[in-house]
Symmetry: C2
Subunit: 418 residues, 2 copies
């Protein structure tokens, strides 16, 4: 088992270690929840202040032109494109992940209906993030289709000639299990179906190659590994072969071919711009750009590949230490043991007390996440997580378990949000 | 014609004059475009900084509970409810106006289909804001209905037994003409139709009584008279008799009855909460709350009624001065002359040069708005617009017209956004 000295040595040898300075994180804060909400980049407060006080306060409405506000959805999209294997002009930032999923899944269903009208199924994973399933459930009803849910292992076997759309989240939010995007997209295409991917737990964390995989549509989240701040806008991508096909149903003025001509009839903009809808929340967009920039800052150091390498090293260290230091406490690894099948998080299941243990850890300044009903989830953001953080987190987890302090009543009370 | 001294005296006698101190506006900035983007409240920078640096930076994911982030859509909704004649718990803040209109219009169409299945028309105003028409056009197609557009005067005559939904913007974005919400809603109901209202140019500017009018659904904008900042989230209201009927199509997790139980099937939350979808953009929400608070600050001074009174006085002064000082320059009043039919803006049409005149005025620090093809639009925000501002604006407009400076080439170049 690695000891503290070895972890400190790993940090000293880490060529990405300087990236932590891009964030404002208290030195005693062990934050293993960047997959729920990324940490605050140091550049963000000043940029948000500039937008609020200068661009809005002094520039007022003129900033739509003078400060380039109108370009933000595309400019941020182009930056995200570099992280997900998309080309410039293929990604737009808009709305929330849920709303964007509605747009692209509706577009995919329209394409499927036009090209293969007898297909009637949407296939997804039973433990996909619920909002994806809720959106799909509503669209399935609207299109007279059925939403079929399967376990991850069963999915390849369910891809058949009846399938309209395969809709998956690339990295599972509960277990961290990562699907093989290229293989599943290929299988879907061979069966004549489309593949829609949610990159919520992928963008900025693991290598993604949307064009390489020939995926059809994708959406992703701005506030997790992209560090865009609470509720940061999401992004949306369509493969070039689909980009000019069909309107998406949220046909708002920002997706119009000529939004300021104020015509009464809707003409969708060419390409991904038709996936815009209303006026974007610009303060949140400004923060998102700073967040994306922290991931792009890794490019000279090896980019996503280097981040992935460190992410896996952090995860492997965490598993090794937990299994050594917390043995006998009933924690069962709930993420794939094979790192190639894992995103940037490690989860353990525990039949009793998972919520309370996470709460007791938070009191010890180690923030992970509880996911109902029994998951302790720990995310590793290689931009700012250190090996010594992993070591400290496991020490404190061991203390919480050894002492049984989590059984105290104050840790049992479940709040509305966890 | 009122002279400068009289305008200064009006300001001195204005019991709302202190409200201008709630905003950061340069003294030489004549801003008559608060109906495009409200000015910056003085409280906003500090509140946004607090959310960024403390709640996000230090509180991290814990702020969903500890800082009450999860309550913001309802808390801000309750504040807006006071401005639009809604009850606590009836309004939620979420997404953009366009996205919210999609939700409520879809809900209205589902109700109409269930209660009166043979109705096939959505009726709106030809010069309604285009995004409303685009959203309705898409939904009409989806529901096998037709979208019928009529001039404002023709609308009462088009409300008949074939009508499913009357969808109007209360105050027209181009002309400022205000519909009689109570009368048109009553006419729609008597014909068996539903009434959906867009309050983009009403909320915070003119008296609105949604429950008094027995309206069915409403949406509104956060960044105009509510001063919420660029792209601030929008709001959504449903009458209590509809609130628990039907899912809206954007069935995201934030609108689930138990969002953190992570069930695979969608169960809509009771009431307006089902109109939430994804995670809200919190930085923009924080700014929006400061903006709403500036309107609520007028409550002890007479509230919306007092704001309305001043708004009309500003508008009347503007019309009087323009028609006196700019006579012979081809400006034709494009807003209703009867103040009772007007929102909080005054528009003039000019066959040639409307865009260039607005640009030349902006160079003179008088910011109004151009609306294609021929409208010069001036919004009056009684919270911060002074009578002397109106006087100065008209003086400079007269100078621009008298001098013909607007004919110079630099004012003719039309930018992407105006």
């Amino acid at each position: 088992m690695k000891d503290k000295t070895a972890c400190l040595a790993q940090d000293a040898a880490d060529r990405l270690r300087g990236l932590r300075d891009l964030f404002q994180i208290d030195d005693d804060e062990i934050y293993l929840d960047g997959n729920s909400l990324g940490a605050l980049p140091r550049a963000t407060p000043a940029r948000v202040r500039e937008m609020v006080e200068q661009e809005w306060g002094r520039g007022l409405i003129r900033s739509w032109n003078d400060a380039g506000w109108i370009d933000l959805p595309r400019r941020l999209g182009d930056k995200i494109a570099r992280l997900v294997g998309a080309a410039p002009g293929e990604v737009a930032v808009a709305d929330s992940t849920s709303v964007n999923l509605y747009k692209v899944l509706a577009a995919a269903l329209r394409i499927s209906r036009a090209d293969a009208p007898r297909r009637t199924r949407i296939l997804s994973e039973r433990s996909n993030f619920p909002t994806d399933l809720y959106i799909a459930e509503g669209l399935a009803r609207q299109y007279g289709m059925t939403l079929e849910l399967a376990e991850a292992d069963e999915i390849p076997g369910r891809i058949d000639s009846d399938l309209a759309v395969l809709m998956l989240t690339h990295v599972n939010y509960r277990t961290g299990r990562m699907h093989d995007m290229a293989a599943l997209t290929r299988a879907a295409h061979e069966a004549g179906a489309l593949a829609v991917w949610d990159l919520a737990h992928s963008a900025g964390a693991v290598p993604v190659d949307l064009n390489g995989a020939q995926a059809d549509f994708a959406v992703g989240c701005g506030y997790k590994y992209l560090n865009g701040g609470p509720g940061a806008p999401a992004f949306v991508w369509a493969h070039a072969r689909h980009a000019d096909r069909f309107e998406q149903p949220l046909s708002g003025w920002m997706g119009h071919a000529a939004p300021f001509r104020f015509t009464t009839d809707y003409q969708p903009a060419p390409g991904i711009a038709r996936y815009l809808c209303g006026t974007p929340p610009l303060l949140s967009m400004a923060a998102l750009e700073c967040g994306i920039d922290t991931v792009l800052a890794a490019e000279p150091l090896g980019g996503i590949a280097a981040l992935r390498e460190k992410s896996l090293a952090l995860g492997e260290l965490f598993i090794e230490l937990v299994e050594a230091r917390c043995a006998g406490h009933g924690l069962a690894l709930a993420s794939p043991r094979d790192p190639a099948l894992r995103g940037s998080q490690v989860c353990f299941a525990r039949g009793e007390g998972a919520y309370a243990i996470v709460q007791a850890l938070i009191e010890q300044r180690v923030t992970g996440d509880f996911r109902a009903p029994d998951i302790l989830r720990f995310g590793f953001t290689p931009l700012y997580t250190r090996y010594i953080d992993v070591w400290t987190a496991v020490e404190r987890l061991a203390q919480v378990l050894d002492s049984g302090i989590w059984r105290e009543a104050r840790f049992q009370r479940q709040a509305a949000v966890t």
